[in-house]
Symmetry: C2
Subunit: 466 residues, 2 copies
Amino acid sequence: MKDHLFRQIGQTITNRIERGELKPGDKLPSVRSLALELGVHRLTVFKAYQQLKHRGSVTVVDKSGYYVKEDASPLVGLDYPVVSSYVHKSHLSEIHRIHADYQFSQAVIDPDLLPNQYTSSSAKHVLDLYPKVFSTYAAVQGDSELRDYLSHYFYQNQKQLASPEEILIASGSQQAIDLIARVLVRRGDTVLIERPTYSAAIDVFHNIGARLLTADLTAEGYNLVQIEKLMKEYRPRLFYSNPTFQNPTGYTVPLEQRKQLVDLAEKYQVFLLEDDAFRDIYFADKPPLPLSSYDVHGHCIYVRSFSKYIAPGLRIAAVVCREPLMQQLLAAKSLMDNGTPLLNQKLFLHYFRSDRLQQHIEKLRTALEIRKEVMETSLADQQLTWESPSGGLNLWVRVPDAINMDRLLAECLTHSLSFVPGTICDPLKKQEHWVRLSYSFMNEQKIKEGITRFKDILKKLNKEII
Amino acid sequence: MKDHLFRQIGQTITNRIERGELKPGDKLPSVRSLALELGVHRLTVFKAYQQLKHRGSVTVVDKSGYYVKEDASPLVGLDYPVVSSYVHKSHLSEIHRIHADYQFSQAVIDPDLLPNQYTSSSAKHVLDLYPKVFSTYAAVQGDSELRDYLSHYFYQNQKQLASPEEILIASGSQQAIDLIARVLVRRGDTVLIERPTYSAAIDVFHNIGARLLTADLTAEGYNLVQIEKLMKEYRPRLFYSNPTFQNPTGYTVPLEQRKQLVDLAEKYQVFLLEDDAFRDIYFADKPPLPLSSYDVHGHCIYVRSFSKYIAPGLRIAAVVCREPLMQQLLAAKSLMDNGTPLLNQKLFLHYFRSDRLQQHIEKLRTALEIRKEVMETSLADQQLTWESPSGGLNLWVRVPDAINMDRLLAECLTHSLSFVPGTICDPLKKQEHWVRLSYSFMNEQKIKEGITRFKDILKKLNKEII
């Protein structure tokens, strides 16, 4: 967070220079006064000023202070325009961009486990059914046939009441989270988020400039006393929650906590943003009903990703919420992309309501459970601990304290093996002894080989330490 | 803008109440002190406070000031949570949601003019070519085969140099504009924008909280003296420009101004965001080269919407820019939706590079030109004036000064006829005597009937005035 802060401050000064509010030769505010103004530590401002000095935008006059450079204002003399961006990097997508033979970083389903042939022939049928699907814009809220079907589906499958008017179709759950964040959260607002959590959600709220508060998630679920305390004291705008086969941990918040959490959200008027991406990937019993099925007063916003384990290339997710929030989401969605493509919605709908779907999902569950078991068997080692998940795509594994995570990741990448380090799943960036290993993308053989390699690397690093 | 401002202030106070920073019984800052703090007129703060009073969140104690209500804090006693959204409505999408028999508000191509059958059979072919297209996530930047092809296309067709690495695929140009705005613009930054312009672009910048400066656009193009003055004085972050068959006017910025504008952008380090959505819809000569083809130092960001007149249901646009901006756009795109669906990109690519494409576009140009001429013939009236456009989808028509625009729109909607009022295309909301009539969505017969109806309504309103 501190690192983030000093870059922000540097950015603010750069903006002022670029806007001409600070001109060449002007004195910058003193470190002490700017620290006071922004409510940050003086060292943070100092670091920001040093960075600006390093970049050549400001100069230091001994005992007098920092001045905007006469000759090297960022507006002049550069080959490219200065890009002072308001968006910081996406940590997860950076890891994904690195190629590896053993990709345990991808919580994505192996295309070989998906019914490609069937999807393709179903798609051809859909093209015949809707001859103008290519030339028609979808409604901003989404195709009404699909929303009707989902309304029915949610009631039948998870006792969740949602009229078609309370459903919006988004291009995947990442867009849904971003959409909701944009409507409800602004710089300086407080957001409550699980720890650990889905790192791209951290990035979304972080980029907006939200203040993040963390709610611990363990194999037993939440600490509701902690959550109530935080809600009472900070009145966060929303709580980003992924209560079912959570990413990255695989943990599931127990039934008895769900109703209580919704009550807390009502009591403190906090929106619960429930990300439900893995509900159908269970290995034993069906998971508890979503938080949102207990919602009475409209405090829940439900995000359900469907395409992930059917046809991830389609990018389809549903958002369920009540008025008046839905009107706000529609306004934002129309500015963001004017609506998810109709073609993708129709293709998804026809596959989703086919008899073939249940058959596929059952097979998929079995295949993933086998892969999970292969990974767990290969991983078995007294130095490594994890809670065996009853669903989802990932193992959340604790490695020995002595292991340096940066070193481990670098070594693994060198050996063409990728995983997600726990630190990027932690809003506080401190969970240094955890890794997320996904068993969904590699086949059993690859999992065996890769995990053996992973353990060899761990052993090597362990020896170095001793 | 003032209207926007007072709502903002109300919002800020509401946020503070919701966050518990202002508690029931607390006194609000005085009108005078808050006006001073925010640098706005006292009347604006007064209006905001009155609105809060009206909503029941604050109460007035005579000669003492405004207080947060004891019993009616927005956090308590409501059926639904208070949705203090950070997104305001999208004006255009609101008009589009109203059904009308004569839709002159839709700058969208009539599905009957699109090659639906061919697109559909081409799509089936693509499904056979890429059997795993449904199960594969696209790269965040877009499909490399498509980017390679576009790189070639831009060079061949418009002398524009763009390597595949300098091209990003977005889900339509609305998303592209939103993406760029998010990376480059933040609350309080200055944005230069044409007047009139595409209303959804106004909404995007407006929602971010940018300060909008306007550059007049007439049939002769820009006033470059005005633009230089604005760039010099305000150093805007970017200039949103739609120089070719502009929406809503149909005007085209002449060749000789294009190079000069790029020079100005370089001189003052302003990004030129060039929205090029109608380039292929010309009725006589091909339009001048894009601004971006004159770009040397990376000040241009080019947004090209393609799917609009081929397969709008696919939602495909290209963004062209140089490093380091591209890295920033990639980070933002990965947070926004993790990449445009691969299926849509492959379908688009195969259609776009087929021989059939040129044939289709030529037919489309002819069909649209005929519709334009039918609209112009039907519209002919000495009270109505417009500049006949040489491309694009719209007429920008001046109606008599005496006509009240709200009345005209209401009357037309009552008679099942829609158009876009000039005011929503004007960042200053003042162009009250203009309407945008699109000739792309209705066939000739409908255009004749609808325009006759439109003129009858105008006559009726004119008589009322006399």
